[in-house]
């Protein structure tokens, strides 16, 4: 087993100051590690802070507290970030949910995909650049006719493929995907998930997948962390979490996931969890190997 850490987040905090009476604590002490070649899933309901985690790791917002380490470098520190700028820009990439907003509508697909290569000055030769573009396009399942098209001319699934090709162009070691398939149809969703899985196996990059759809997480991830109100509630290997959830919130969440099976669904009882009375203070405690759960006196036995 290769257990080299590529991304490590320690006690990360992100507070948004609104006014003197109100500060929104979007992330309130989140810690996890992503190992090399691992697919790490981050799940949570709306407003639990999962997208904010992704953005804070990428440095889009400066963190209020806590540390982010990428390959052992503390990148939340501006000085260290600047020293390692080239490495970070090349090896850490993000894919957003809304590909229509993420791609510049005034650039062609070819320009969009090669832009990171040109900016990072990885390939300067024109022919080489064209070869790279064509191999990237075929890798994500698009043909060369797409090169001259604009993002508005292609469908949502194809746009997401372009976004993936762009992010793969620099051969990153870590890809963060923030709800990459949430806005796609079931059959297209399956195509994109297969694509992710194939690329991840071929290239072996680490993958931090953020999603609200538990069935996708269950399908693709090695390890899962569940977020709730800016805290991690439970962190475990995927199989362990789905078979043996410990926290009542996660038990209720799992029971609410609809299963496409009418007779099973109709007889299923939902477990209720009172969100208002939820206690989110306490510490993450390791209960079995690799299985952490947020512990406080009232909730977990």
């Amino acid at each position: 087993m290769n257990t080299e850490e590529i991304l490590s987040v320690c006690n990360l905090k992100q507070h948004f100051y609104i006014n003197n009476d109100l500060t929104i604590k979007a992330i309130n002490g989140v810690s996890f590690q992503v190992n090399k070649g691992e697919v790490f899933g981050l799940v949570g309901e709306t407003g639990s802070g999962k997208s904010t985690v992704a953005r804070t790791i990428m440095g889009i917002y400066p963190a209020t507290g806590g540390e982010v380490y990428f390959k052992g470098n503390k990148i939340c520190d501006q000085k260290i970030y600047k020293q390692n700028k080239n490495d970070i820009h090349k090896n850490m990439q993000i894919i957003f949910q809304d590909s229509a907003a993420a791609l510049n509508s005034r650039m062609t697909v070819a320009q969009i995909i090669t832009e990171p290569l040109r900016i990072n000055r990885l390939i300067r030769d024109k022919n080489e650049l064209r070869d790279k573009l064509e191999s990237l396009l075929s890798e994500v399942g698009l043909d060369n006719t797409y090169k001259a098209k604009y993002p508005t001319e292609i469908s949502g699934g194809q746009r997401q493929r372009v976004a993936i090709a762009r992010c793969l162009s620099t051969s990153p070691d870590l890809i963060i995907a923030d709800e990459p398939v949430a806005s796609l149809d079931v059959s297209i969703q399956a195509q994109i998930i297969n694509l992710f899985q194939r690329l991840q196996r071929e290239r072996g990059f680490s993958f931090l997948l953020i999603a609200h759809d538990l069935s996708i997480i269950k399908f693709i991830c090695d390890k899962v962390a569940v977020m709730f109100h800016g805290r991690l509630m439970e962190l475990a290997p995927t199989k362990e979490l789905f078979e043996n959830p410990l926290h009542p919130y996660i038990q209720s969440l799992l029971s609410a996931v609809p299963v496409p099976d009418p007779i099973f669904e109709r007889n299923k009882k939902h477990l209720d969890y009172d969100v208002k009375r939820a206690k989110i203070d306490g510490e993450l405690v390791e209960v079995s190997r690799g299985h952490f759960v947020l512990k406080n006196d009232q909730e977990t036995k």
């Binding site: 709306t46 149809d185 059959s187 195509q191 199989k239 209720s252 609809p258 299963v259 496409p260 669904e265």
Partner: protein, 339 residues
Amino acid sequence: MTEPVLQLINLSVSFDTPNGEVEAVRDVSLSLNEGEILALVGESGCGKTVMSQSVLKLLPKTSRIKQGRIIVDGEDITNYKEKQMRKLRGGVLSMVFQDPMTTLNPTIPIGKQITESILKHNKVNREQAKKRALEMLNLVGIENSEQMFSLQPHFFSGGMRQRCVLAIALASNPKVLFADEATTALDVTVQAKIIDLLIDIRDRIGISIVFISHDLGAVARIADRVAVMYAGKIVEIGTAEEVYYDPRHPYVWGLMSALPSLTKAGENLSSIPGMPPVMLSPPPGDAFAVRNEFALAIDYEEMPPMFQISPTHSAATWLLDERAPSIAPPISLEKRAKA
């Protein structure tokens, strides 16, 4: 058997665009019985929303009903004028949309928004309307309805807002409720509660519901009958058990096996190759043929008719013709039928 509350007979709806005619709904026939929940499933752009909005006549002026009839409660409403429709909307037919925040007026208290529709459709005074509105809030499971009555929508969470929208939709005792992706924007836990609420309301007041969704999981819980749409046509319709455990159309096979929850981790997710067709010039034969690995030669030439499998179950695919070779559905589905 009683008469169906809603009946569509060979309905086709088209849009006139500068590039030509877009055939959004093509020759759809279905009926909805009293107290029944019918789910309409399909990918985006397959015509499920256009179909339901054509019943309520909410479509823009570029659209027209090309052929067919819409019968609501025994009355043909195909050629109803706007004035006549206004009585039906909210009265007999009601609709709940995907995003509760855009449905509700953010500046008007919830209570006032509910009484508005009651006053419009019933001959009642303000006091009676308020009483009815409070009843509705209780029905949709909002506690402290007296206090909530005077609050604006931004005080409520997404699930509560959707409950308020439901209260408005149900306020004047409609016969048919259209729920257009009503639970899609909500979290799974909230979605589960709203679905249970819809079932509970159906059991209590006997309303018929058309539940439009692309989530096969949510549909499995709520639906009595399921209709799967593709490229403007219903390709398969039957009871939930029939469609889920014994699907006959290759598109439905594809949809089911594309679900991650039915596939073992580590295995490849089977996906349907290609894209849904553009409805500007739909292909002459089965629109799904080009994406269908089991397509026969005739699929490219002639539209398949609806083949009856049982009194409640029918599907439009040439594979059901007696001359067609018999093809076993993909293995992943068989496994589940046994489990």
